[in-house]
């Protein structure tokens, strides 16, 4: 019989202090606080895992926080794997979340879970813990991926049933000598394909504004009247070259982020759906998908210019979806159009 899912801090009492524990670690408040709780419990060997798939946070910062909390940090470099095995099938399939935005965490979570399980098995760890809460679909994505991977130990997020207020987490960390985290005003999730913001000052759909400085790629730097013409070459549904220069997918996406984002293109705003019909606001910047997908559905000789449309990305497809290794829940295979427009207000839940 499977071990019960970890859903609360009290369940952590059943962990053996002498066996290793693996935690997913972003350097944020929730994952830092979990390290503090594990240290207090006397778990002797805590391994904090950060899977590098293009996040813009420094590994130095994460290392500093994790080690200050007594954990061993593991920065696992998976950018190329993420691009080639997870993003590429999504590009070929033009995978869009309910017609709202290109899928992103749907792609990254299975890879993060897989990386954590590999490490946990190598270490003989008794648990893989993460810090998603119930208003984040990452809770379902990680628990689902860890279940499907057949991890032998216990796993889950103690925040599912035991949310801790932001103020309490900050205060307890400060008391423990960790005072590095107060500046964050939203939760973020970033990879080379997409940067996403939610919660905090973005909790309320009825009144929200992302501070412009939070955008990295899509902050307009082009002057009024500027133009830029770029050509993306596709082979079998995948982008392989930019302006005739063949590039690995990671480099090609990085360049598109800057080139397309310079025109303020690639922003998405919408309501994501939780498991009982509730919706939560999520804001994203992801400049490349418009240029990677507009072409594949419309032409065998694709060319896309950023100035050809004021919309941040137009998705249309007529080809066949390739199976995605990652995207069990991706909306592959349906015709979609996606722009910076948000989801319609309050569509009925499942």
């Amino acid at each position: 019989m499977r071990s019960p899912l970890i859903r609360s801090f009290s369940q952590l009492d059943s962990l053996d202090p002498d066996l290793p524990v693996v935690t997913l670690f972003s350097g944020g408040l929730d994952s830092s606080y979990l390290l503090l709780r594990l240290r207090r419990m006397g778990i002797r060997e805590v391994h904090a895992v950060s899977v590098d798939i293009g996040e813009d946070e420094s590994s130095g910062y994460k290392r500093q926080v994790a080690e200050a909390l007594g954990a061993t940090i593991h920065i696992l470099h998976r950018r190329a794997e993420f691009a080639e095995q997870y993003v590429a099938p999504a590009i070929a399939a033009q995978a869009v979340y309910l017609g709202i935005h290109p899928v992103s965490s749907t792609l990254s979570r299975p890879l993060i879970a897989h990386s954590a399980v590999e490490l946990a098995r190598a270490l003989g760890a008794q648990a893989v813990l993460h810090t998603a809460n119930r208003s984040q679909n990452t809770l379902r994505r990680l628990n689902g991926a860890l279940t499907l991977l057949g991890y032998e130990g216990v796993f889950g997020s103690p925040y599912d049933l035991d949310p801790v207020t932001r103020d309490d987490k900050l205060a307890e960390l400060r008391d423990a000598g960790i005072d590095l985290l107060a500046g964050r005003i939203v939760s973020g999730d970033s990879n080379l394909w997409c940067r996403e913001f939610e919660s905090g000052i973005l909790d309320d759909p009825e009144l929200h504004e992302v501070p412009e400085e939070m955008y990295t790629w899509s902050r307009p730097t082009a002057l009024p009247g500027d133009t830029d013409t770029l050509t993306v070459t596709f082979e079998q549904g995948l982008p392989v070259a930019l302006d005739g220069e063949r590039l690995p997918l990671t480099r090609l996406i990085e360049r598109l982020n800057r080139r397309v984002g310079a025109y303020g293109l690639g922003r998405y705003s919408g309501l994501e759906h939780l498991d009982h019909g509730e919706k939560v606001l999520e804001i994203r910047e992801s400049p490349p998908p418009g240029s990677c997908s507009a072409a594949t559905g419309t032409s065998r000789a694709p060319a896309w210019t950023p100035n050809s449309s004021a919309r941040s990305g137009i998705w249309s497809r007529s080809g066949h979806a390739r199976p995605s290794k990652a995207a069990g829940s991706a909306n592959c295979g349906s015709p979609h159009r996606c722009s910076s427009m948000p989801a319609p207000p309050a569509p009925p839940g499942p």
């Binding site: 809460n133 119930r134 208003s135 049933l161 949310p163 207020t165 932001r166 919660s199 909790d203 309320d204 759909p205 009825e206 009144l207 929200h208 504004e209 992302v210 899509s218 307009p220 082009a222 009024p224 025109y263 303020g264 293109l265 922003r267 705003s269 309501l271 019909g277 509730e278 919706k279 939560v280 606001l281 804001i283 004021a310 919309r311 941040s312 910076s340 427009m341 948000p342 989801a343 319609p344 207000p345 309050a346 569509p347 009925p348 839940g349």
Partner: protein
């Protein structure tokens, strides 16, 4: 028919700020919203609702004589 059924319950307003190159939302508002406006408060309510069936039974208001 599916689209009609979904669209029938979709009523509200969206406010954008237009800028060169695109538009950013500032407000998404519905009369009977399914969206959350305060995630932490919702998490507390949701956990309470899930836990309610497992809460200890309240003591009877009137003790048996």
């Amino acid at each position: 028919m599916f689209i009609d059924a979904c669209a029938a319950r979709t009523t509200g307003s969206v406010t954008w700020r237009l800028r060169s190159g695109g538009a950013d939302t500032r407000s998404i508002t519905a009369g009977e919203p399914l969206y959350l406006r305060d995630r932490e408060a919702w998490e507390e309510r949701s956990i309470s609702a899930e836990s309610a069936p497992f809460a200890p039974a309240a003591a009877p208001a009137l003790a048996a004589v």
